[in-house]
Each structure stands twice: as C-alpha cells, then as structure tokens.
Symmetry: C2
Subunit: 197 residues, 2 copies
C-alpha cells in the first residue's frame, strides 16, 4: 500500500495549480504531448471505453481555426498558448470495444441505445479530460480549460470526416504566466456538499 504523495506533489497537482489565461513564450514539444497522452490513457474509463478523440492545435493556423469559433474572451487564450487541445468524444466508441475490452462482448451493451452511448461518451471523455489536465500538471506544465465555444462549429471544422465525433471541451497547455491570474475562487467546506451515511 503506497504512502500519500509528498506535499510538493500534492501542491503541483491540486493546491497550487491554477487555470491560466496567458502563457510564457516557451514551446510544448511533440514528446510532451505524447507523454501527456501516455499518462492520460492509463486513467479508468467504464469498460475501458477510451472515448476521447484528441486534436492538438499547435500550429498558428490550427489555433486560429479553433479560436474563430470560441467566445471573444477565449480567443487570445487559444491563440496565445503553445498548444490548445480539443477533447472530442466518439459516440461510436463501442465499435472499438472488441479490442479495448476483449474478454467479453461489451460492444453489445451499447448497440441498442444511442442515448446510453451519448451519456457514456460524455461522462467518460470528461473523465479523460480531467486525467489529461492532471497528467499535464504532473509533467510540470499548466492548463487552461474552456467550454465557451460553438461546439457545432468546431465539430464541422475539425470532425467533418468523423460525424460520430463531437467536441466536449478544449484546453490550452503550456507554461502559465503568473501575471495572468487573480486570486483563487472560494472552495466549499466539506459539510456543504458532502454527506457521510
């Protein structure tokens, strides 16, 4: 049974990590992008669905294509970042289950209900988005997640050839500029949103 992580690690992942709005002039490499995914994909998803489909917008052109569909305040948070990743979700994730979850016929659990597939894709790709953010922080980088964009327009722009894939949220990644953030928003006391029965 492992010990708790040390305070420095907990600070890096949770207590001192912040969502950034602007970014230092320092690249994120393809190797770092791969390393983020290699951690993220280890996180649990229901029946190993792995529904997240990721588009890493790294070139100025790709970031502009994404930013044009974002809310005005979010545009510079995209174009000014070393990379902004679109966390998409495959509504036909079940077609991959024969190899992702090979020991039983999990595909058949989802063939009958589009509603069930949508709920599973949304829940599990959101979990994967959270793993991505914590993986990013674990590797010494910072995040800036956003959901203020036109999902349908982003889907048409980036997933036109994959109509089964929909955008969930987006996340800028890089080295955050400490000058771009304000005080942290308040966090709830345990008793407000928790019950122990």
């Amino acid at each position: 049974m492992p010990d708790p992580l040390d305070d420095r690690a907990l600070a890096q992942l949770f207590h001192e990590a912040r969502s950034y709005n602007s970014w230092l002039d320092r690249d994120v490499t393809d190797e770092q992008i791969s390393a983020i995914y290699d951690l993220m994909k280890m996180g649990p998803t229901s029946a190993n669905q792995q529904p997240a489909r990721l588009v890493w917008c790294k070139s100025p052109e790709a970031k502009e294509r994404l930013a044009q569909h974002a809310g005005e305040k979010n545009r510079p948070k995209i174009t000014g970042a070393p990379v902004c990743v679109i966390i998409g979700m495959d509504l036909d994730f079940h077609e991959q289950l024969p190899w992702l979850f090979p020991h039983t016929d999990a595909r058949s659990w989802f063939t009958g209900s589009e509603e069930l597939r949508k709920a599973n894709a949304f829940r599990n790709s959101s979990l994967q988005g959270a793993y991505l953010m914590l993986a990013t922080r674990a590797l010494g980088l910072d995040c800036g997640p956003m959901s203020g964009f036109d999902n349908a327009a982003v889907d048409a722009e980036f997933f036109a050839d994959q109509p089964n894939v929909r955008s969930n949220f987006i996340c800028s990644i890089g080295y955050g500029d400490p000058a771009s953030i304000f005080g942290r928003s308040p966090r709830p006391e345990f008793d407000r949103f928790n019950r122990v029965l």
Copy 2:
C-alpha cells in the same frame, strides 16, 4: 516551473493504479474522506461551478441501500468496500455561483437554459469525479468506479429531498485486494486517437 513528478508518483497515479473489485479489510477514516474532498475541490471546474454533491456510503446500511439499485455483479463491489461514494450533480449549481464565482454575475449565464445547466453539471461533475479518483490514489488509497446502477432509483433513495440533484456515477474506495484484478486492458497507441495539427 515545476519539474515532472518522479516515477514513483506517476506510477501511483497512473501507470500502476488499477480499478479494484474487492477490498482488503482495512477502514477508510472520516479524516481520509475529508482529505480526498479537500484535494478534489481544488480541481478546475467551469466558472468554479463545483456541481458535485457527494454521498459517502460508509455504514453497512447505507451500502446496502445503494447496492440494491446496482447491477448484480456490482453489488459485492459496493457492500465489500470500506466506503462507496455517490458522485451526484446539482442541476441548479448556478444558484451557488454568486459566492463560488463572486467577481461577475455567472449565475445569469445559466438561468435561461436547462439544457445548458444539464450539460455543464454532467461535464463538470464528471471532471470532479476524476479529480476524486486521482486524489484518492494520491493519498495512497484505491478506487473502483461504477456506472452500472439504476440512476433514477438511486436518486429517489438518496436525493429525494433534493430533486435538483441527480446521480452521475459511484466509486468504491479502500485498499484494493490485488487478488481481485486481472491483466490490464490494452491502451491505444498515440496515433490511433490523436491528431497534431
């Protein structure tokens, strides 16, 4: 700019962590439950929505009340765990935004659209569920997440007095029994589900 976490920490969070089906006979304390929440609540949610509402089923009675609404194979994974937490989501999370996100009128962004509230509550409570799992692992404990249960029945059982709260998923927590798991399911190569533009 922090360094990457060391290999031991990355193993504990990602590479060697597993979802467990049964549990060693060792308690999870109320202090550990509080510590999990104190990490989890630091994770980012859109406009600090914090929509997760948690019910920690710790007594045998509470675990039985939950297990009766789960799929048959999931029942012993609940009753045999030291604690099983219901990750609920508040569809009226926006009513809390005046104190959770005090510097602007974020509440008004959500008053007009129940659909927008539902999508935000589902996405952000799922993110928080992932933070909960990684916080649990960071503290040296193990997880066993499940979505195979009757959500409406669980809502009636545990959230009858809060009709604005719906169950998202559930997660057993404790010290996993290594004898209860099999080989890890395969993980995708980077190129399968990623594009860099």
